[in-house]
Amino acid sequence: MAKATFSIRRGGRDGGEMVDYQAEVSEGMVVLDAVHQIQAESAPDLACRWNCKAGKCGSCSAEINGMPKLMCMTRLDTIDLSQTVTIEPMRAFPPIKDLISDVSWNYEVKKRIKKFNPRKPDAEDGTWRMQQSDIDRVQEFRKCIECYLCQDVCHVLRDHNKHEEFIGPRFLVYTAALEMHPLDTENRTEDLKDMFGIGYCNITKCCTKVCPEHITITDNAIIPLKERVVDEHYDPLKKLVKLFRKK
């Protein structure tokens, strides 16, 4: 059986180093299989997160040869194994240990977004009616598995560390799902402009490229939200109306 070399980040919050391990490669193997093999045979204390191993839970996000990916969905036969394969944790978040980074910021951000607030049920049976065509877009956003790879690759977070001012693509998609939900009555455009920093996004579409669920984050979620913000807050006519209303 062929062998491949994996260079894996080892270390805690204060720093780490890349350590080389060998793994035997068999047909159909994914990167996570190699990490498990290394864990079971030579490094039982190698920390990595994983759950479903089928691309559905978004736990095993990492940077494989520098590219943000799910380890469970990255087949070894798509990588050049004649070279050493590097596996590192997501860099946009503080490292905890080995391949694990501290993603708690994401959980805090979500709490700040106004929750779903449906209109009163309006069908006879006390529920609602919605057409499939009206929810297709929202369902696309709700495919998100919260792997945070889009957050990891976003330069506003990764390179400029604007975690205080910018909620990142994941939560713009989340906000879009709420804003475009046919039943929702809340308005989040002011938050988008002021607290969520939507203006920081300059549409480089890196997030869309890395999304394992193939959500068209920029085109379908962020740009329409930007348009709403512009419509409501920068439309000169509306501004004038608002000015008069205030008086």
């Binding site: 079971a40 204390d45 759950n51 191993k53 559905k56 240990k97 919605m130």
Partner: protein, 602 residues
Amino acid sequence: MTDHTTFEHDVLVIGAGGAGLRAAIEATAAGVSVGLICKSLLGKAHTVMAEGGMAAAMGNVDDRDNWKVHFSDTMRGGQYVNNWRMAELHAKEAPDRVRELEAWGAVFDRTKDGKILQRNFGGHRYPRLAHVGDRTGLELIRTLQDHGIHQGIDVHMEVTVISLLKDGDRVVGCFAYEREHGRFRVFKAKAVILATGGVGRAYRITSNSWEGTGDGHALAYHAGAELIDMEFIQFHPTGMVWPPSVRGILVTEGVRGEGGILKNSEGKRFMFDDIPANYKEQTADNEEEGWRYVTGDKNARRPPELLTRDHVARCINREVKAGRGTPHGGVYLDIAWIKEKIKDAPEHIKRKLPSMYHQFMQLANLDITTTPMEVGPTTHYIMGGIRVDADTQASTLPGLYAAGECASGINGANRLGGNSLSDLIVFGKRAGEYAAQFSKENSHGSIDDAQIDREAKRALEPFERVDGENPFAIQHDLQGMMQDLVGIVRQESEMLEALDGLAKLNERAKKTFVPGNIDFNPGWHTSLDLRNLLTVSEAITRSAIERKESRGGQFRDDYPDKDPEFSKFNIAVKEVNGEMQISRVPIPEMPAELKQVIEEMG
């Protein structure tokens, strides 16, 4: 005394999948303080993997459906050893629980008139599963999570429970560690709800994630609670079989619900060959009728591919053993064939089964819109678990409740697909409600420091040894043994061999050695999980030996038939003086009105 941090909650929920989250939401709504322990990060629990849908007799697609049909389908599927009261509550309450999810933001697929769409599934007489493509579990967990984070629940992520703490007979909290630094935590609670899911990691081929190590089952057992029905394991008929690294990953029953058919290597639809007597009247006897059923013809009967999971899994097993399997030891599941019947078949398949398309494309290089999949049985679910009161979900110990897969009763000998997600929300809610009530009626119990010291000492032993067993190797050996000796086809001699094997593995598990430090150390975590896996494996094996018949998830080669004698009781296990004791718990007589429902439904 052991160094630890103490947390106090009125209600403590252990497990943050569908049942745990639903319970936590309900308990908070009752006005008590709630702590929620997640083994992983919030929102990553095994519920996300549920694909097909949640069963609720809303009658949106076929108005002949109602709770009575759902109840009798569930009892028939469970071969009548279910807790009938749970089956009744479940069938009656599931529709409201589903509609509640919609009010919390869930976005289900729609019917043409704008209602929640429902799909066909094995063992359900009418289209009954509310769904979102084939990612219904994700929708469920995300809806509950996003609703729950605004309810004031204290969430403890990446925390694992080592043991329950007791004050006399009563459960008053638990002892746990947090993963990042391995520090110990004591949780004091007036009531504790276990919602820890299943035991699939006891087997080699499984659809379960690393978390499915029977934690709740083992915690309850070691605290003195009773477990029942542990012999009933569901082997889902369709797991991936190739390539090896993905063996066991689930292929949703929704594929068959959408018209997918099972064929052997000779191209034969073998499911027509063996239709159990009690399903004959409900099952199509030709291919054309089967197709009409999946396309919504109300006069057609369902195709045999949609028989219950226990039966389909055994038929697949039989085909493979008889040499009619695929090159990699499965059978073919073909959805591509529907292009003979409908125009835009590839697009239709991608829309209805997007994650299946994606999963096979990415992991197996196979396009399911053109090529049949290779599938075979995979350990999926345990019907058995903590014995609970049907209405309140109270275990046999005061202060301890259980909901979801780790609780037992609703499913009997075999669970119908789609009844799990609805079970989570129906009984998660009930557990939350009654645990909250218990917490209002009782004050905190006292915590026994000696118990904490004992548990801490045991937990840290793997670090104190200078050499010893590799916990991953023990887990691997256990999985292989359970797969081979207590798997889909069982016999007494092999299971006795398994008991010997378990005794040896228990000894090895006491000598594990873990290198490195206590910070986020998977070797250590695996070492601690072993105790739970070994406990549930023994419970499964002993219960399976005791049930000398074949029924639902238990198939015995040495007792291949159903025995009416065994329909009168459930098999229970309990820890008595450190030993596992087996008993038979009589099933109470079903009330006349429920009997009548079953008779009416045929």
